[in-house]
């Protein structure tokens, strides 16, 4: 159990190389698309792709240098764990619920508005990570969102996405 928690998810060298490769691909795409729309000198001045083309060149060159440096890293620096499994689990414990949260606000099938998913999101964290009693969970999650509702919709008049619950209260 202990061992699996501290197990490394990729070394620094691996992740450095991956990110450098991503930069490399991105830079190449920028160069390609800029070349496509014209990256040279027209009669009326530089073409639309002129500036971005060289941006792409800079990205590709620095990505190559970063990649080279990463591959040359010594075992101590490059072999160090990028992130431990236990840590990554915590990060995912935030990231995955966040994705679900944003999907609940609005997706092609239904939209709940921003207030209800936010309250659910806060409640889920408090209940699962914080192990609070239901009463506290309900009080904090609903209280915070009511405060936000008053602040945005009524006080500053910045409309946020609203769903069926808000509609039931007469806010469209």
């Amino acid at each position: 159990m202990e061992q699996s928690e501290t197990r490394a998810v990729g070394s620094v060298r691996l992740w450095e190389s991956l990110v450098a490769l991503a930069f490399l691909v991105f830079g190449a795409v920028v160069m390609w698309d800029s070349w496509r729309i014209g990256a040279r000198w027209a009669e009326d001045g530089p073409q639309a792709g002129y500036f971005p083309f060289y941006i792409g060149v800079f990205i590709v060159v620095s990505a190559l240098v970063i990649l080279y440096t990463a591959l040359k890293m010594g075992p101590e620096e490059g072999g160090a764990p990028f992130v431990e499994w236990g840590q990554l689990k915590l990060v995912l414990a935030i990231m995955i619920p966040s994705v679900i949260y944003v999907a609940l606000i609005d997706n092609p099938w239904f939209s709940l508005g921003i207030y209800v998913p936010s309250a659910l999101f806060i409640a889920a964290f408090m209940r699962i990570l914080g192990k609070y009693g239901w009463l506290k969970v309900a009080a904090v999650s609903i209280g915070v969102m009511v405060a936000f509702f008053v602040m945005f919709e009524i006080w500053f008049q910045v409309p946020l996405p609203k769903g069926p619950l808000e509609a039931a209260f007469g806010f469209a």
Partner: protein, 513 residues
């Protein structure tokens, strides 16, 4: 003196009840933002920016809006010190150096002294920065009125080269991250030719990437992910701050006048040249350690070790606004967000702002004086309150901050796509931070990308494609040369070190490359 007259006019603008109320509200919000993990000056201001949209449309509202936002910034600068001293958690990158002596002081039971010293020197640093802005910015603006496209492009070049030259890590990572910002800025419709660039037929990319979303994602979500990874638990010293401690510390502070002045000077210099508050605070801590009589006691909890970084961080944070209002070139991510606000409200930052919108500029400058006084009062009296915020468990704070970030991202353009983008930028910020890619250059490139490109294009049009236009007179040539010097500074300094290492004997270890 013309400046004094204008400043008095500015005070008349800033000293309305409504603006004073906004000032205190901004400071309090700012301190809370500075104290909370995941919310900092840059993304805090970015999230609250949409709230000012309607405010800025009323007469005189633009001044009120900038007062609110800049006070949030001052508040965040003050707030960073609280967490550093009480919890050993730097709430902001520029308060990292404050933890070196602030936290040990707190452990020794002298948290009150450390806090008082931090706040007072922050105030002093900011004051020096504002004085600099008051007297230097009209001169810079008048000077910049003569700038043409080549001059402006060379200033942008200087900004970006300074980032490369002063980066602590690999300069290539700085370049990669900066160019990523430029590329993202180019996405969408090209303003000159009307052609679509880098959209790949996706209509959602037509309007391009908004840097506010990047700021909220990179600095907000990314920071939360890093914080949770460390399995953070807040355990801190008790904050007790009564008048007796404050006055005692104030009696002690004049002893460190040399450190204060030196740190303020370092801060102002670093703030104007982009590089910002964080390196300024480290640099002045290092200098103070070297030059102080109690140098070897640094790190064990001496007040002077708090004075140095805090003064410099605030001086830098304040003077970063100077190039922003006079040239339209922000010196830090937060200044960039403020600049973005100005643009959204329909103001064009730059030399013309001083002549066309004098009441706005001087109202802002006057509010800097008042805001920092308000800030000092608020933080000295409310420390226990702010410290209590950090005792709220992470399982409540984290989701609430995520919700705030999501709302902030949505309100920028009322678009759900931006919220998804924010999550993506958050994941990217996490990986970038772990691999030491700097994020400030990327944000600045995203903000300035279009302007820099236009400056470059117009210069190229003027010279028919001849690069020598950037050396065509002493002004633009000087700036360009300085920029290139800064760009190659890592290589130059290594050469110097190498030459010295050979002649003087002790071999210096090579830099981490």
């Amino acid at each position: 003196m013309h400046e004094i007259e204008s400043l008095i006019g500015g005070f008349q603008v800033a000293l309305s009840w409504f603006n004073l109320m906004l000032m205190f509200a901004g400071i309090i919000l700012g301190v809370i933002i500075g104290v909370l993990p995941g919310l900092g000056g840059a993304n805090g201001v970015a999230i609250l920016l949409p709230l000012t949209f309607s405010m800025a449309q009323q007469p005189g509202g633009q001044t009120s809006a900038i007062i609110l936002l800049s006070c949030i910034y001052w508040g965040a600068l003050f707030g960073g010190a609280i967490t550093s001293i009480l919890f050993n958690i730097p709430g902001e990158p520029w308060s990292v150096a404050t933890t070196f002596d602030g936290y040990p002081l707190g452990q020794k039971g002298r948290a009150g002294a450390a806090l008082t010293a931090a706040f007072t020197s922050s105030f002093f640093g900011a004051l020096v920065g504002v004085l600099l802005i008051t007297f230097l910015s009209p001169i810079v603006a008048r000077f910049a009125l003569r700038f043409g496209p080549p001059e402006f492009f060379s200033v942008y070049l200087l900004t970006f080269c300074a980032f490369v030259g002063m980066s602590k890590g690999s300069p290539f990572k700085t370049i990669a991250s900066m160019m990523l910002g430029f590329a993202l800025a180019a996405v969408g419709i090209d303003t000159v030719t009307g052609q679509l660039r880098l959209t790949f037929g996706l209509t959602i990319l037509l309007k391009g990437f908004d840097f506010l979303i990047a700021v909220i994602g990179l600095f907000g979500i990314g920071e939360i992910l890093l914080t949770i990874e460390e399995g953070l638990e807040f355990r801190g010293a008790r904050a007790k701050l009564n008048m007796k401690v404050v006055i005692q510390t104030w009696k002690e502070l004049p002893r460190y006048w040399k450190t204060s002045l030196r740190s303020a000077a370092v801060g102002c210099l670093m703030g104007i040249v982009p590089g910002g508050a964080t390196p300024a605070s480290f640099m002045s801590y290092g200098l103070a350690k070297k030059m102080s009589r109690d140098g070897e006691k640094f790190g064990t909890g001496v007040v002077e070790g708090v004075v140095a970084p805090e003064t410099a961080a605030h001086a830098a944070g304040t003077s970063a606004l100077l190039p922003m209002i006079t040239l339209g070139v922000p010196g830090s991510p937060t200044a960039a967000v403020l600049l973005g606000g100005l643009l959204i409200w329909g103001l064009q930052p730059g030399p013309l702002l001083f002549t066309e919108k004098a009441d706005f500029v001087w109202g802002l400058i006057a509010s800097m004086y008042l805001g920092n006084i308000a800030g000092l009062i608020v933080v000295l009296t409310c420390v226990p309150l702010f410290a209590a915020i950090l005792r709220v468990p992470f399982s409540i704070i984290a989701p609430v901050i995520l919700v705030i970030c999501a709302i902030g991202a949505y309100t920028v353009h009322n678009a759900m796509f931006d919220v998804w983008l924010m999550l993506a930028f958050g994941a990217m910020g996490y990986v970038f931070k772990k691999l030491d890619y700097p994020m400030a250059p990327m944000v600045l490139a995203l903000v300035l990308g279009d302007n820099a490109e236009n400056g470059f294009r117009q210069s190229m049009l003027m010279s028919a494609g001849d690069m020598r236009i950037f050396f065509s007179n002493s002004l633009v040539g000087g700036i360009t040369t300085l920029a290139l010097l800064l760009l190659f500074w890592p290589a130059i300094s290594r050469l110097i070190a190498l030459a010295r290492g050979k002649s003087e004997g002790p071999h210096l270890p090579a830099g981490p490359d």
